[in-house]
């Protein structure tokens, strides 16, 4: 019997049928839905007179289009001003009602970004296959699950058959060994990985993140890392199960209890790559070398350490890279060799499925406590990932820290991560953002996104430009323990 990777094990456990043409049917344990990519799938079901195969695997929420101010949210769906957005949200509500699918609607206290609420509810469990019509489904792989994004036709396929028609990927391991420096977080780790392997580095692979630095991360941190596997080109990111995983899941609403919990834990303990398992590709990073990261360009691989500078396109290795750097600097309004700490900012966004969990908010609050947002920052907003994250943050008093410092404290949703609601960047505005994509126009037409960790975003809001969080006087972290 040959040694298996974690991915091999998850694949084997869900293989329904291997076809002669190289494709395979994979059984899906958890299907998450949101309003943007599901309407045509439901319509397809209806036209073909089909029913969802298994209702209890589906969990839906509205997150992409929802407004984030309290005034708008107080009105429920009626607070959505854009009629097209409103229809998308209502359509999900109607579809869930018609088919009997559990949905956390706009004002459900459990509503939030789909990739935040799944784990929070214990609806994402180790050993599961998890899919959603959304590329950041890779997040759920942090639990030792096989999780990836799918297209609208596939959403319909999963609804109708509980299976996905797919092909096995190759195995890649990314090891981060050693100890992370103080102030260096999961976000910096994953940005450094993308900076190293590039946005196509993981194409065709399922990436397993491993090594002592990954093992030392909390579940929130692990989710941040897996979330951005897609930015490294891999549809799947995953991390082996350990005590940290089990401690997080225990007692969550959807998690098993009693005897079933015991049986599940015994099973989940196997969800690690065998020591002799072979990977098609292994990449190793030294944790001690990773600095707080800041992206300077229009692709997540255009990233550097806080002590670095914007590259000079003239120094690029080849013509293609040079052209893309020239174009990126032009779009971003930056000069070659400009120091990262000299980049002036207009807005700050702390949120998104990458960094809107309680730990992210604690880290940002630690930096913001007792300080004031700089006068050149027009808007600094904190958007919790879910209603439950928001409630916990308020119980810990984090909301007050942010509000006193001059941040806006918002209602949960995707918000300015993709600017499908009213939260947008204006043309030419520079934003320190804890989200995952810095593509042209992603956060608003002409907007300039810099990807950073929550602590770096908060520090940038206070300074008005990027600063090294490692240089800040140690903050009193007592509030973080009060929970």
């Amino acid at each position: 019997m040959s040694a298996k990777t974690l991915y091999d094990k998850l694949w084997d456990q869900h293989l329904v049928k291997q076809r002669d043409d190289g494709t395979a049917l994979i059984y899906i344990d958890r299907h998450m839905l949101h309003e943007v990519t599901s309407p045509q799938a439901f319509e397809g079901l209806r036209l073909a007179n089909r029913k969802p195969w298994r209702l209890d695997t589906n969990l839906a929420t509205t997150d992409h289009n929802v407004p984030t101010t309290l005034i708008e949210r107080a009105e429920g769906n009626k607070g959505i001003k854009d009629p097209v957005s409103l229809i998308q949200v209502q359509t999900l509500d109607d579809n869930c009602r018609e088919y009997g699918i559990t949905e956390f609607g706009i004002n459900d206290p459990r509503q939030g970004i789909v990739h935040v609420i799944g784990p929070e509810q214990g609806a994402t469990l180790p050993g599961m296959t998890v899919v959603c019509g959304d590329s950041h489904t890779a997040t759920h792989g942090a639990f030792g699950a096989l999780a990836h994004g799918i297209g609208t036709s596939e959403v319909e396929h999963v609804l109708a058959t509980q299976c996905l028609l797919t092909q096995k990927m190759k195995n890649m391991q990314v090891r981060v060994e050693g100890e992370l420096g103080l102030g260096v977080t999961a976000k910096d780790v994953v940005l450094a990985i993308i900076g190293k392997i590039g946005t196509a580095g993981g194409t065709g692979y399922a990436i397993e993140f491993a090594g002592s630095a990954i093992e030392s991360l909390s579940m929130e941190g692990r989710m941040t890392v897996c979330n951005m596997a897609i930015e490294a080109g891999a549809r799947v990111g995953m991390i082996a199960v350990d005590d940290t995983t089990l401690d997080y899941i225990a007692n969550r609403p959807y998690a098993p209890t009693g005897e079933q919990w015991e049986a599940a834990v015994a099973d989940w303990r196997n969800l690690v790559s065998d020591p002799e398992a072979e990977f098609d590709n292994v990449v190793t990073l030294d944790a001690a070398e990773i600095e707080p990261q800041v992206s300077w360009g229009t692709s997540p691989e255009m990233v550097t350490g806080i002590s670095g500078q914007v590259p000079d396109p003239e120094a690029a290795l080849d013509e293609t890279i040079k052209r893309s750097h020239v174009r990126a600097l032009e779009y971003m309004g930056l000069q070659p060799n400009q120091k990262i700490t000299d980049i002036q900012l207009d807005k700050v966004f702390i949120g998104s499925c990458t960094n809107s969990r309680i730990e992210d908010l604690r880290e940002a609050a630690k930096v913001a406590k007792g300080k004031k947002v700089a006068s050149n920052i027009q808007l600094a907003m904190v958007v919790p990932g879910s209603g439950l994250v928001k409630r916990q943050a308020e119980e810990e008093g984090l909301d007050k820290i942010f509000i006193e410092a001059g941040f806006e404290w918002r209602e949960p949703g995707c918000s300015m991560c993709l600017a499908m609601n009213a939260d947008k960047l204006g043309a030419g505005e520079h934003c320190a953002s804890t989200s995952n994509r810095n593509f042209e126009g992603r956060q608003g037409y002409g907007g300039r996104t810099h990807l950073v960790s929550p602590a770096m975003a908060a520090a940038a809001a206070i300074a008005g430009h990027f600063v090294d969080v490692r240089g800040l006087p140690a903050n009193d972290a007592n509030h973080a323990q009060e929970a």
Binding site: V16, K17, D21, P39, Q40, D56, G127, H157, T161, L165
Partner: protein, 212 residues
């Protein structure tokens, strides 16, 4: 998906190479929550003289009289005849949805873009590749005779012209089978429903916590 049956249909000639998916269905219509209803906006920028908006009633919009599909003789066309590299550009499934919703069952061209080729067959639209000289002849005949119709026989992989000329074409067996049987991906997977049920039952016994 409906079974693809042998039929005879009127041909509309779109004399243009590299027709991209943006031209087939412009981006503003992708906001729709539907998979149907794109027919009125098929080739929107070529077909109307104004800029279309999603959800707009198209019946009062100014038509471009020069556009081929606006000519009465092609009103009921079911076969689109066009030039090389049809369907290039984005991966939007809305492109085949719009062609089908308009009433097209077949597109004939010398070549098609890859992604569009896949998307079309997934949605029951048959794409037929013919040689450039055969295409040229069909263009001529279509223009010469009003009501020019072709018979499409997928089973035997041939097109029959009104003169009785037979044009053979290639299509891969799996795709042909899916179209003839009216099977979409879901339909094919559901042929294995017994296998899925069996797997599910075993999965449930081994890992009951996944079924709560």
């Amino acid at each position: 998906m409906k079974k693809f049956e042998r039929f005879e249909g009127v041909v509309a000639p779109l004399d243009r190479a590299n027709v991209d998916t943006d031209l087939i269905i412009p981006k503003q219509f992708l906001k729709s929550i539907k998979r149907t209803g794109f027919g009125v906006n098929l080739f929107d920028e070529l077909r109307y003289l104004d800029e279309g908006q999603p959800g707009q009633d198209c019946s009062s919009r100014p038509l471009n009289p020069d556009f081929v599909l606006n000519q009465p003789r092609y009103a009921n066309a079911e076969i689109l005849l066009t030039r090389r590299n049809f369907g290039c550009g984005s991966s939007r499934e809305h492109a085949p949805w719009a062609l089908e919703d308009f009433g097209f069952k077949v597109v004939i061209a010398p070549s098609f873009a890859d992604i569009f080729y896949n998307n079309a067959f997934k949605n029951g639209l048959l794409l037929v590749r013919l040689e450039e000289d055969e295409i040229e002849r069909l263009f001529q005949e279509t223009e010469e005779r009003e009501g020019y119709a072709l018979e499409v026989d997928l089973e035997n992989q041939r097109i029959i012209t009104p003169r009785g000329e037979i044009l053979e074409f290639d299509v891969d067996e799996f795709r042909k089978h899916c179209l003839l049987e009216g099977l979409d991906d879901i339909g094919i997977t559901l042929q294995d429903d017994a296998v899925i049920h069996q797997f599910e039952q075993q999965h449930r016994e081994q890992r009951p916590w996944l079924f709560r």
